[in-house]
């Protein structure tokens, strides 16, 4: 993984020193809250319902054991002993004191972790595929370009006061695990007709109040033009993006307002004009230099040991279930990708205690070359586990309560923090997620249902990505009470789609029944090998509408 050099370290130190001064000025009253707010947001400091919340970047989802230990230390020392992994490869601490933030930032900086631009109207954490570098279906490791984009976007003098937040995602695989179609800029690595590797560039995707799938602005972009082209996209957004209405300020709005053709025209014009002028060129030797940091770890030359694992599995059904669901194939023979869902029955999705973080860091050291990943469904990954270690790793995870065999199954829900924590929320998302998780505990049943993503958001800002869940659940406030709107048929991968509204919002206690009704109807209707999404796309929404509103006593909300 990337290691800071003296330039990176100095910049972070200067940024922290600057923030320390800003905090002092705020506490002394030299800055008003209105002036201070964007400054603290740019360092990831939110003021939420209970306290300040600190959002920490996990750049493109890659974490070292050393970093994870430091996060555990922060949780223990400055917070209430736990952290929360989000849907954007970040971790959040919910009980932070402003006066301590500069010290926390220094602690984090000592292990090359920052909160820089984790919030604010600027380019946010660059996210990527959690299997980057180890997936069999990968064309190239996208993290090289993520790191280049990260440096490019940090403290950009021209783009630190954009109309609104800006999110970039990169995938190096045709199986898009980074959800590029719902980002402000999505980058898909692929080969052109001449066999050269480059980027399909997409713009204008996003969830929230007005969800959109991104449009292709460039079919193929050469890597050396990546930063300069992104700069042109950002510049056109900075110039033309709406600033009159906070809910209409994302790039997706202006792209759809102007139309992708006009937006492309403006970008290509700027890109052509900037040639020869100061702009961020990306010479190949710089790409190669960064790529060295992402060279594979010293794998041993091993063989796949499927037969042995089968034998173990047939002797131990619990290991078998875990191996089947949570372990993904690795590009290196003899190795495997171990997923660690933070989704035990009744757990708060994405939450993890400091003790478990430390224990996981230990497992990473012993079994995964000291490396972990964070995915987009609030789960962690041990990316380089020897197949011969799978059983011992499973035992260790099991003892920690981190071996629930439900990856990508129904109980692997994602949920935003919701009204329990977040000042923006209309409803509490976590209790709904937990109730559903408690209802669907039986592993065989979950396996029989098959892959099914359930995404819960506590408000229209959609931090729980409900639009792209196979089942989406959106918390709404009706007459002071919490109700939940369901959507069906969303998907965030290569074939991205936005979910369709099922019907009137449901009371909280009716949501688990509704999910059961949907699942039962799916099982009735599905054909051989059809996942939920496939069946939904084949039969449409009516059968499910009828199942839910027939089963659940209707509490009709117009």
């Amino acid at each position: 993984m990337y290691r800071y050099d003296e330039f990176d370290r100095r910049l972070v130190a200067e940024r922290i020193a600057q923030f320390r001064r800003q905090v002092a000025r705020r506490l002394a009253g030299e800055l008003s809250e209105d002036q201070f707010k964007p400054l603290r947001l740019k360092n990831g400091v939110y003021l939420q319902l209970h306290a300040y919340m600190l959002r920490v970047n996990v750049p493109y989802g890659t974490l070292s054991s050393r970093q994870l230990r430091k996060l555990a230390h922060v949780a223990r020392t400055y917070d209430r002993g736990y952290g929360h992994f989000t849907t954007r490869q970040n971790i959040q601490f919910n009980w932070i004191r402003l006066e301590q933030v500069p010290d926390i930032l220094e602690e984090l900086a000592s292990v090359e972790i920052t909160t820089i631009q984790s919030s604010g109207n600027c380019v946010r954490n660059i996210t990527s595929d959690q299997y980057a570098g180890v997936a069999r279906d990968e064309l190239a490791d996208p993290r090289v370009y993520c790191e280049l984009l990260r440096q490019y976007s940090v403290l950009h003098p021209e783009f630190s006061y954009l109309p609104r937040k800006f999110k970039i995602a990169v995938t190096g695989s045709p199986n898009d695990r980074a959800a590029v179609a719902v980002h402000d800029i999505g980058l898909r690595m692929h080969r052109n007709a001449a066999g050269e590797t480059g980027f399909e560039v997409l713009v204008g995707g996003g969830l929230g109040r007005t969800p959109y799938l991104a449009h292709t602005i460039r079919e193929w972009l050469a890597p050396e033009d990546l930063l300069a082209y992104v700069e042109s996209i950002l510049r056109v957004y900075n110039l033309y993006g709406r600033r009159d209405n906070i809910h209409k300020a994302r790039i997706k709005i202006i792209v759809n307002q102007l139309g992708i053709d006009r937006y492309r025209e403006l970008v290509e014009e700027d890109f052509a004009e900037s040639r020869g002028l100061p702009r961020p060129e990306l010479p190949k030797d710089e790409v190669d230099r960064i790529a060295e940091y992402f060279a594979p770890p010293p794998y041993e030359p091993l063989d796949d040991i499927d037969a042995e694992l089968e034998k173990l599995a047939s002797a131990e059904p619990r290991f078998a279930a875990w191996w089947k669901h949570n372990v993904a194939p690795h590009k290196q023979p003899g190795y495997a990708i171990v997923n660690v869902p933070l989704k035990a029955p009744g757990a708060v999705p994405g939450d993890i205690t400091a003790e478990r973080m430390d224990a996981l860091a230990g497992l990473a050291d012993d079994y995964s070359f000291g490396e972990l990943r964070v995915n987009h469904r609030q789960n962690l990954v041990l990316p380089h586990v020897r197949q011969s270690d799978l059983h011992v790793v499973w035992s260790a995870l099991d003892a920690l309560g981190l071996a629930t065999p439900n990856l990508n199954l129904l109980s692997d829900l994602i949920s935003c923090p919701g009204l329990d924590y977040c000042a923006l929320a209309n409803a509490r998302s976590i209790p709904v997620a937990r109730d559903i998780g408690r209802r669907f505990v039986d592993v065989d049943r979950l396996a029989a249902i098959g892959p099914l993503t359930v995404n819960v958001s506590g408000c229209m800002n959609a931090c729980g990505h409900h639009h792209v869940g196979n089942i989406g659940i959106l918390g709404v406030d009706k007459r002071g009470k919490e109700f939940f709107q369901l959507t069906l048929g969303g998907s965030s991968g290569r074939d991205a789609s936005l979910g369709d509204r099922l019907g009137p919002a449901l009371a909280q206690q009716d949501v688990p029944d509704a999910i059961e009704a949907i699942v039962d109807r799916y099982l009735e209707l599905r054909e051989e090998g059809e996942a939920f999404l496939d069946t939904y796309r084949r039969v449409g929404i009516e059968p499910f509408k009828e199942a839910v509103y027939g089963r659940v006593e209707e509490k009709a909300i117009a």
Binding site: D5, F7, D8, R10, L11, E14, R15, Q18, Q22, Q35, P38, L39, N121, Q151, Y152, V154, L155, H156, P157, E158, F159, S160, Y161, L162, P163, R235, N238, L239, R243, E273, S274, L277, P278, R279, P280, P283, D285, E286, R289
Partner: protein, 168 residues
């Protein structure tokens, strides 16, 4: 009270901002609005006095693209400090349209923004601090590492790394 810091010095502003007025003095340095410039171009040039232009944040500088040479001062407005359009305007003016006069940031200009404004090509600031020069110098020194190239010529980390590799 706002004081003007230009090129790192505390100076008196010799320009009178008439962009919100209906009339202007026959002599002396004045700053006009884009509308005034477009309507009274010849008369303003005929004054033979230094001329400045003040652009609102919704007025793109390509409106004066071929004419930047007429202005000694261009003032770009930040109606709210969150409105970041003028950072791009500044770079366009400096790097593409060849503007070489004073580029002034006016409106809600926070000290925390000075460093970025300098990098984008601003060289004059209305600063509302009791010690404007001290505040300016501190802001200028906020960072000594820059990842992105602009027209200010400061070397980027990428450039410095390459130089090191070539030497080493």
């Amino acid at each position: 009270m706002t004081r003007l810091v230009r090129n790192g010095e505390l100076v008196e502003d010799r320009f009178v901002d008439v962009s919100g007025e209906d009339t202007w003095p026959e002599q002396g340095a004045i700053i006009v609005s884009l509308e005034q410039w477009q309507t009274h171009r010849d008369a303003l040039l005929a004054r033979g006095a230094p001329l400045g232009l003040r652009l609102r944040s919704d007025q793109m500088p390509d409106a004066i693209r071929g004419e930047v040479g007429h202005f000694d001062v261009i003032a770009l407005e930040f109606p709210k400090f969150r409105d970041g359009r003028a950072y791009s305007y500044a770079r366009l003016l400096r790097e593409r349209y060849g503007y070489a006069g004073e580029l002034r940031a006016v409106g809600e200009v926070l000290l925390e923004q000075l460093h970025f404004m300098l990098r984008c090509g601003f060289d004059a600031f209305e600063i509302r601090d009791p010690d404007p020069l001290g505040a300016y110098r501190a802001a200028e020194a906020d960072f000594t590492v820059w990842y992105q190239p602009t027209g200010d010529g400061r070397p980027t980390a990428m450039q410095l790394r390459r130089e090191r590799r070539q030497q080493g």
